[in-house]
C-alpha cells in the first residue's frame, strides 16, 4: 500500500482572506478510495480551506503546498483544477440568471472533454443522473440555482459531481438544508459515485450524513487548524459531547 499515490495531499496550508489568516497550517492526505470528514465549529475555516483549494481569488494561499494526483495545483486556475479532477460542492451555490441547468452542465462537461469532443450522449447521461438523484427533469430548463430551495441547490451540486466524475470531491455542508428523504437520496448519490479510485472530503456538522456515507477518517478543525483526527467513531463522540473537550485537549497539547 505504501506505493499508492495520494489523490490529494496538502501540506501546511495557510489561507488569508481580507488580510486575516483563517487557515493556519493544515495538512491532510487523501488516498484513492478514502473518505475523510472535516467537522468543526462555525467560523473555524472549513469553507475557507475548501474555497482556497478550488482556487477562489479571495482566499489566498499564503503558505504550504497542495498536490492533486501528485501534481502541484497552486499555480493552476480554478478551471484547470476542475479539469485536473478536483470538485467542490459549494456550501452556498450561486445563482446564474438566464443560464439553464442543462446548458451550464453541457458547457461544463464539454470543457472537461475538450472543445471538439463528441457530446451526443449528453442528454441521455444527464437524464439518467437526474433520475438517480430524484431530480425532476423540469430542473434541466430552469436557470441555475435561481429560486431553488436550499435542498434543491445541494442536489444540483451532487448532480454536477456525478456528471463530472472528479478524482477528488470536496463537499462543503452538502447535507445541510436537506430533508430526511433528500439526505438519503443525496447520500446514495455520493455512495454511487465513490469508488476505489476516487476520494472524498466531506465538510459537515452532523453525524447524520456519516450514517450513510461512512468516513475512514474524521478530522476536527478549530480556529484554522486540524486539532484532532480519528476514525468514524470520533464523529459520534462529537455528536455526543460537542467540541469543548477537543478544544481542552488541544489547548493542553499546546501548553505541554
Amino acid at each position: 500500500m505504501a506505493d499508492k499515490k495520494p489523490l490529494l495531499a496538502f501540506d501546511d496550508i495557510h489561507v488569508e482572506v481580507e488580510g486575516t489568516e483563517v487557515v493556519k497550517g493544515v495538512s491532510l492526505t487523501i488516498n484513492p478510495g478514502e473518505t475523510h470528514a472535516i467537522m468543526g465549529p462555525n467560523g473555524s475555516g472549513k469553507s475557507s480551506l475548501s474555497q482556497a483549494l478550488m482556487g477562489h481569488p479571495s482566499y489566498e494561499i499564503t503558505g504550504g503546498e497542495a498536490y492533486l494526483n501528485g501534481e502541484s495545483i497552486l499555480d493552476m486556475e480554478p478551471d484547470e483544477r476542475s479539469r485536473a479532477g478536483l470538485f467542490l460542492a459549494f456550501q452556498y451555490p450561486l445563482a446564474i440568471p438566464g443560464v439553464t441547468v442543462a446548458n451550464f452542465m453541457r458547457a461544463a462537461l464539454q470543457s472537461h472533454r475538450g472543445k471538439d469532443a463528441d457530446m451526443s450522449d449528453f442528454r441521455k447521461l444527464f437524464k439518467a443522473q437526474m433520475d438517480d438523484l430524484g431530480i425532476d427533469h423540469a430542473f434541466a430548463t430552469r436557470y441555475l440555482n435561481e429560486g431553488f430551495s436550499g435542498g434543491e441547490k445541494k442536489r444540483i451540486e451532487i448532480l454536477q459531481m456525478a456528471m463530472l466524475q472528479p478524482k477528488v470531491a470536496v463537499l462543503d455542508e452538502t447535507d445541510s438544508g436537506l430533508d430526511i428523504d433528500a439526505l438519503k437520496t443525496v447520500a446514495e448519490g455520493i455512495n454511487r459515485f465513490h469508488n476505489d479510485s476516487n476520494g472524498m472530503l466531506l465538510v459537515t456538522h452532523y453525524q447524520r450524513l456519516l450514517n450513510y456515507v461512512k468516513p475512514d477518517f474524521v478530522h476536527v478543525m478549530m480556529a484554522g487548524r486540524l486539532v484532532k483526527s480519528g476514525g468514524a467513531e470520533l464523529a459520534l463522540q462529537l455528536e455526543d459531547k460537542g467540541y469543548d473537550w477537543v478544544a481542552a485537549e488541544a489547548n493542553q497539547k499546546v501548553e505541554v
Binding site: 481569488p57 478551471d79 476542475s82 459549494f90 450561486l94 446564474i96 440568471p97 438566464g98 470543457s111 436557470y143
Partner: protein, 477 residues
C-alpha cells in the same frame, strides 16, 4: 493626416476582424443607377421620377426635404458623433438592378451570393412566410408563400406597395410618424426607398414570420427604407428585420422610418436583429399605434454600428391596448448605443412593459433613454420599466435617462434600474466546474440576454448568441 487615416483604417479592420469575414465582405457592383453624393430637391425629384410615383408623394418628399434642411441636428444624445455626419458625402439613392426578382434565380449572382452567405434563402425555405431582401436603396428579391397571398395578406416592398395599394398607403403613410417629427424622419420622408409594406386583412393570423433583410454594400451609402405595417381588426403578424453591411473606413448612414398600426384586437410583433458594421450611423424612428385591445410588441436587438439612436415607441390610443418593448444593446469598443423605448398611454385600461438590457464592453457606451407618458384620460393604466445594464471592463459606461410624465393618479407605475458587473463569485462558480474564464463570462452574458433571446425564433437566438460570442472574444476583466 494620411497617417491618422491609415491608423483609423487599421484599427477598424482590426476591430471588425470577425465581422469582416462573416458579414463585412463587399461586392464589386455595377449599379443600374448611382446618383451623385449629397441631397437636394433635384435628387429628391429624381428618386420620385425613377419610381414613377404619384405627385402627392413627390410633393411630400419635397416638403420633407425642406424640413430636414431647416431642422438643426439634435442637441441631445451623442451630439459629437451626430455632428460628424457628412451629409454631402453620402449617396442617397443607389439602384443596384433594374428589376426586382421573384425567384432567387432572377437576382444577379453576386447579390444572390451575398444573401446566400447571410443565410437568407435557407431561412426562407425553413421557417419564413415571406422574404424581402433589400440591397442599397431597393428591394432586389421578394416573395411570399402562396397560401398567405390567397388569404389576402399583402407583403410588398414599399415602392410596390405605393404602386399597387396607393389608397391604403395614402391613408396611413406618415400618420404615425409625421414628417417633422425629427430631422432624420424628415430626411427619410424626403429620400425614402424600399422597406416593407404589409397589410393583414381582418381576422387573418399570419402564423409564420415575414422577414426583410437590409444590406448596405456601398461605402458612404445612405439607406432610407420606409416600412408601413397595418394589421387590420383581429389580425396577427410577426415581422422580422435583419441588417448588415460591409466594413469601410468611412461612414454610411442608415435612417429608416417604421410605422405600425394595430387596429382593434390586432397583434403585431416587430423583431429586429441589427448587426451593423462599426462604421454605420443608425438613426431610426420606429413608432406604433395600438387601437382598442390591440397589442404591439417591439423586440429590438442592437449590435454593431458606430452610433445607434433608436427609441421604439408605442402609442396606446384605444382602451385596453397593450404594448411591450424588449430591447438589448451591445456596445463594444468605440460604439455608442443610445437606445430606449417610449410608451404613450392615451386611453383607459392600457398597459405597457419596457425591458431594456444593455451590455457595455471595453470603452463602449450604452444609454437607455426612455419616455413613459400617461395622459389624463388613461385611467387604470399600468407601466412597468426595467433597465438592466451589464458592464464589462473598467472603461465601459452605461447611463439611464428615464422620463416619466404622469397626468393622472389612477395608474400603476413601476420602475427599476440596475447596473451590474460580471460578479467574481459567479465567475468562480462556473470556472470551478471547468469552464475557462472567457467561456464562463460568455455564459453569464448570454444568461443576462436570455429574457430577450428566448423571445426570438430559435434560429435567430442561436445566431444572436454567436454574434455575442464574437463580440466577447478577447474581452478583458
Amino acid at each position: 493626416m494620411a497617417d491618422a487615416a491609415q491608423r483609423q483604417k487599421d484599427d477598424l479592420s482590426l476591430l471588425n476582424a470577425d465581422y469582416a469575414t462573416r458579414y463585412g465582405f463587399k461586392d464589386p457592383v455595377d449599379y443600374f443607377h448611382k446618383g451623385a453624393r449629397g441631397v437636394n430637391h433635384e435628387v429628391v425629384e429624381m428618386i420620385s421620377k425613377m419610381k414613377n410615383e404619384p405627385r402627392w408623394m413627390a410633393d411630400r418628399r419635397h416638403e420633407a426635404l425642406d424640413v430636414f434642411l431647416s431642422k438643426p441636428t439634435p442637441q441631445w444624445g451623442n451630439t459629437k458623433l451626430l455632428n460628424e455626419i457628412l451629409y454631402d458625402n453620402i449617396y442617397y439613392f443607389m439602384k443596384p438592378i433594374e428589376q426586382q426578382g421573384k425567384s432567387w434565380d432572377d437576382v444577379p449572382e453576386y447579390i444572390r451570393n451575398t444573401f446566400d452567405k447571410l443565410g437568407i434563402p435557407e431561412a426562407e425555405k425553413n421557417f419564413l412566410g415571406g422574404v424581402s431582401a433589400q440591397y442599397e436603396s431597393e428591394v432586389v428579391y421578394h416573395s411570399m408563400r402562396e397560401d398567405l397571398q390567397k388569404q389576402g395578406v399583402v407583403f410588398l416592398d414599399m415602392d410596390s406597395g405605393l404602386r399597387e395599394h396607393e389608397d391604403i398607403v395614402k391613408k396611413f403613410f406618415g400618420t404615425v410618424i409625421p414628417t417633422d417629427d425629427n430631422k432624420f424622419a424628415a430626411l427619410n420622408t424626403a429620400v425614402w426607398s424600399g422597406g416593407s409594406f404589409i397589410y393583414v386583412p381582418p381576422g387573418i393570423n399570419v402564423e409564420i414570420p415575414l422577414q426583410a433583410y437590409f444590406r448596405i454594400n456601398a461605402e458612404n451609402m445612405g439607406q432610407f427604407e420606409r416600412t408601413l405595417i397595418i394589421a387590420d381588426k383581429g389580425s396577427r403578424v410577426h415581422y422580422i428585420e435583419g441588417c448588415t453591411a460591409p466594413v469601410y473606413s468611412t461612414d454610411s448612414l442608415h435612417s429608416a422610418v417604421v410605422e405600425l398600426i394595430a387596429l382593434e384586437d390586432a397583434y403585431i410583433r416587430y423583431t429586429t436583429i441589427q448587426n451593423w458594421a462599426r462604421n454605420i450611423y443608425n438613426l431610426v424612428t420606429k413608432r406604433a399605434t395600438a387601437h382598442k385591445n390591440a397589442t404591439v410588441e417591439w423586440v429590438d436587438g442592437n449590435l454593431g454600428s458606430r452610433l445607434t439612436m433608436k427609441y421604439p415607441c408605442i402609442q396606446l390610443v384605444g382602451e385596453g391596448a397593450k404594448g411591450e418593448i424588449l430591447s438589448v444593446a451591445f456596445a463594444g469598443q468605440d460604439q455608442h448605443q443610445d437606445a430606449g423605448a417610449k410608451v404613450i398611454h392615451a386611453a383607459p385600461n392600457t398597459s405597457s412593459r419596457i425591458t431594456s438590457k444593455s451590455i457595455s464592453k471595453d470603452n463602449g457606451r450604452a444609454s437607455y433613454r426612455g419616455l413613459a407618458k400617461i395622459h389624463k384620460n388613461a385611467v387604470n393604466s399600468k407601466i412597468s420599466v426595467e433597465c438592466d445594464a451589464l458592464l464589462i471592463g473598467e472603461d465601459a459606461r452605461s447611463d439611464t435617462y428615464p422620463t416619466m410624465e404622469i397626468d393622472n393618479e389612477q395608474v400603476r407605475v413601476e420602475h427599476e434600474a440596475r447596473v451590474s458587473k460580471v460578479a467574481e463569485e459567479q465567475l468562480f462558480y462556473l470556472t470551478s466546474r471547468g469552464l475557462s474564464e472567457d467561456d464562463a463570462r460568455l455564459l453569464i452574458v448570454n444568461g443576462f440576454m436570455e429574457p430577450f433571446t428566448k423571445e426570438l425564433p430559435l434560429e435567430y437566438a442561436v445566431e444572436l448568441n454567436r454574434l455575442i460570442e464574437l463580440e466577447m472574444e478577447g474581452s478583458i476583466g
